[in-house]
Symmetry: D2
Subunit: 347 residues, 4 copies
Amino acid sequence: MSGNSIGNKFKLTTFGESHGAAIGGIIDGCPSNVVLDLDAVQLELDRRKPGQSKLVTQRKEADEVVFLSGIFEGKTLGTPIAFQINNTNSKSDDYDLLKDAFRPSHADFVYQQKYKHRDYRGGGRSSARETAARVVGGAIAKQIIKPVEIIAYVSSVGSISVNKKYTELNLSLTETNDVRCPDVEIAQKMEQLILETKKKGDTVGGVVTCVIKNVPIGLGEPVFDRLEANLAKAMLSINACKGFSFGSGFEGTKMFGSQHNDYFNEYGSTKTNFSGGIQGGISNGMDIYFDVAFKPVATLLQPQEMLTTNGTLEVIKGKGRHDACVLPRAVPIVEAMAALVIADFMV
Amino acid sequence: MSGNSIGNKFKLTTFGESHGAAIGGIIDGCPSNVVLDLDAVQLELDRRKPGQSKLVTQRKEADEVVFLSGIFEGKTLGTPIAFQINNTNSKSDDYDLLKDAFRPSHADFVYQQKYKHRDYRGGGRSSARETAARVVGGAIAKQIIKPVEIIAYVSSVGSISVNKKYTELNLSLTETNDVRCPDVEIAQKMEQLILETKKKGDTVGGVVTCVIKNVPIGLGEPVFDRLEANLAKAMLSINACKGFSFGSGFEGTKMFGSQHNDYFNEYGSTKTNFSGGIQGGISNGMDIYFDVAFKPVATLLQPQEMLTTNGTLEVIKGKGRHDACVLPRAVPIVEAMAALVIADFMV
Amino acid sequence: MSGNSIGNKFKLTTFGESHGAAIGGIIDGCPSNVVLDLDAVQLELDRRKPGQSKLVTQRKEADEVVFLSGIFEGKTLGTPIAFQINNTNSKSDDYDLLKDAFRPSHADFVYQQKYKHRDYRGGGRSSARETAARVVGGAIAKQIIKPVEIIAYVSSVGSISVNKKYTELNLSLTETNDVRCPDVEIAQKMEQLILETKKKGDTVGGVVTCVIKNVPIGLGEPVFDRLEANLAKAMLSINACKGFSFGSGFEGTKMFGSQHNDYFNEYGSTKTNFSGGIQGGISNGMDIYFDVAFKPVATLLQPQEMLTTNGTLEVIKGKGRHDACVLPRAVPIVEAMAALVIADFMV
Amino acid sequence: MSGNSIGNKFKLTTFGESHGAAIGGIIDGCPSNVVLDLDAVQLELDRRKPGQSKLVTQRKEADEVVFLSGIFEGKTLGTPIAFQINNTNSKSDDYDLLKDAFRPSHADFVYQQKYKHRDYRGGGRSSARETAARVVGGAIAKQIIKPVEIIAYVSSVGSISVNKKYTELNLSLTETNDVRCPDVEIAQKMEQLILETKKKGDTVGGVVTCVIKNVPIGLGEPVFDRLEANLAKAMLSINACKGFSFGSGFEGTKMFGSQHNDYFNEYGSTKTNFSGGIQGGISNGMDIYFDVAFKPVATLLQPQEMLTTNGTLEVIKGKGRHDACVLPRAVPIVEAMAALVIADFMV
């Protein structure tokens, strides 16, 4: 078990180090004879791309996806869909001084302990660059699961939060600002905080909220492969993710059952939706919604004390480019992971 | 894919409806030639058992586990360990009036939609009774992963919370009270709240905190099968679970990177532990700690509006016994699931 | 990976040592709302049972299957079906002298090397008794895959072979004799050979041929999970199996392509069937047929030289009961394994 | 389940259509910090390559493998190893007349039925070209499992067979002739038969024998994932494979147990090896040996009757290039599959 695959029936396997030749993946289990919109896949990738706005890392990567198999005359063959994104930013000399140092709160140290050999250039496989392959997989999944719709947005950055529920927001405003927050006033404050943080060479965390609409009844298996369990695993597999909650979440723990129960309308929909669209591990047809917590990125452009391979502690200043806040770029990744989970239950 | 198994190398498969002949399971992948303490397994099961205190459901179940295979002359054979717990409480007539009704926030409705046939007596497979099999599996896992130690406790009930970190608590006090809260003053308040809630026929939620100590460096796979991802999935697979966070969790999203980074001591331990013992999906040798949110139980002993199979809404009063608060009984279940996840990476 | 499960979607996991408390299994992935004929399951088990005729081992086992879950009001719930067969023959003292000896061509030696601890009574897990659980699983699979029909028969014992193809035989005669050979004249010769062999305390091998009729087009996945690959694995997982071939088999290697190609009729059936009903790993709707080779049973009732745990060689005479020829009892096992493979592709 | 992966711990996933952009794969689970000889991988690929001798198809393919990830500074990282072989022979117009025709004994018909859309150019995914990716995976596996050694050779072509056991042959002569048969006299006859067959536009089948030496005791899991079961599945997953037998094989079914049992030497080796190195599903340290049957290739350069998508039968003459006998090229493929199976049990 080495865990570079997700899904049982709609399975994505990813490969690639951040500063190797390429990253990419294989989707096994995609239904055949489906027309794929490959431009839509590239657009999703562009939403995750470095350099897309002043808020995100200015690392230059073209991030163009090329498909190698599984598609013929514009339609899926039902065979594996292999794809590749070449790594064009080879400025790996930025990382030379990290060859013998373990950055705090990075994977450097545990990789060295576990594998005895690591690609120290930019984190190699532990780099969030790996998530580009997930976005490709998720973009294809999104097309397979239609009319199910997945919409994520930034609901907090540091201590600045949207104080409305998703039902009170106009989610179509999400992509109108660089933060990807549908509450445009709050978005401005978030943007300011990110830019200030960036100026200091520091980073800040936040929360992404995700909503899944038009879900058919019956997705999920009732014991270990519950829909919420697979969503939780998918989200916690994203770099920097620290938590997942769905429906009433942690707040719901403070409620009484008489407040929390979702009473039925006739024909099976419910009057409230504290359950978050899932009961007994299985979708009940209501909206699914959940929160995903992200810690502040560990890469700082400040001098930091690092552990060296000699067992000494040394202050080293990070170079290069980084995200002061991953939240805007996390939005398409959360959507992609959700799409992969849903597709795995739908195909 | 029907999802009644968890784990790849140390795999537990469970079976059984709450009012069928028996529940139980098979553990596949247990190492051979290990002396097993079967009394310790029964003791874990007793911690989950109905009727153990005035705080929990008074349903009568002996919950005695019988082992059918995999153990010979007191030691594991490396072959599948099958076990069984007979269902002795057959008062299924309590449920007759639920044959044609779907309780709010239960799995009744989605089971009927998905499977077209269900065991309506007590929820059948969707009953939390299934978790008894998990506790047996986890109790064996605990013995396999020694000296790794797993300790869970109740950290909130409704709005009453322990306001200290686990490091400030004497965790050995957890089992001294029926709530299983190591802060004995808070425990008393929690107990009072549970009893009051019970008197009203209502229920209340809460949070379990879990700590894993003596973890070797290197557990977890860095992409999709991260240690935290598998823990999240395991926890979200428990009935009534609404959320999971580890290390700094949702609070950590409000911090700056310069505050959140865990700086190294020489030799690889860290001065702080916001990371919660996991970096890049892999254990770093520090304590792992996480929170698990539970909603209030949906079964109320109050009249509630239910949907009937005829598509009408009717007010029906629940009968029988129930947990006003699952938290005390959730503690051994959380520990069991954590042990299963850790064992899967250690064997 | 410990390999006590077969199937991905229709998955059987088995447990149990031959002289432990019980053997049994769990079927995960059985469709819901299917009426099951449990008497038919017991009848299949009776076809595998010791003591059913003078040709097979006289070991006394009731072999009564009990179902513990997954069935309610006569229909499947879609939840795991757990079942159990108690071991009633506890004459394990027959095996005391084998505690410190490794029988030739048995698993005793490799089990000791691999697991360091073994249940020496009758082979424990390596005993062919484990196949009883497969027959139960297969008997349920047979009901799920209707109208697909699976018929196996003994086509050779030692050097005595049926010299006709399955299409030239009246397969309904198979169960009219104890050998389970539809060519009744040949069956008599086989019976004589088995009885003579038994008298000498010796054993003899043979071949089972299996035919699958009414197969829908499209079963099988074209690369690694080909229909023939999964059948081969299933057959080679039966104790004492030494080989598998399908369609034209080893004889077909001597043919030229111009002789071997199966030309189409209109609408897709073929004029010949050297392909054995499978092309490119996928069923083409024609009959599937294959041969399964079984070596002579290793347990002899003759004095044999064994290796002892002290590293010496000693002549020891086997006691107890044994099959002089497994072929008659292998017939229902081959059918069961085929049914499990087909079900896994059909559910 | 779509079955484009093999292995649990050392897992190869392949992709690619014969006339698409590229074929290739991902190896997940390769141990870290191992020096890889990539030239040795290319050499294995050259053994499978078209055009390598006058006996095989003259289709022109460079078959150069490029590695994209998982290797850094010459050593494995423990991360996925992705690789790619570009398809340089794009003469797909040879196949235009097959767009609407289903060739006899090819996968064309079942692909169309199952997937409703297919890449008709050269068989697409059903082409044996896919096996090039397996050879790359196997070549890496071979390096991981050292000192285990895997040697295959052609033991029959049509009716011409090597009549000696592998122990009586000088296996180092295998690669001295184009047929890959270590009995050089027989090899000449085989070569003649292949060339004659080719001249007629016909094809012929045969058998590959494979030997695995230096196997550690203990590989294989005793019930469903037996070593021989996984080998059988791996072999039957190769295009055109019709059968598998190991050790005494089909001939062994004619023996008596008293002849067939392998008696021990002191210390656990055996005097004979009818068991073929496997007992109870587990390697016993003796040589493993097995036979793999291949039917004659279905592609003929003769006029053949085909079924058209209109449901009519038409005589069409195949164009282009083909193998008159796959046996010489099957040798490295059999070795690769064996290496993948062994690696999966050893890592």
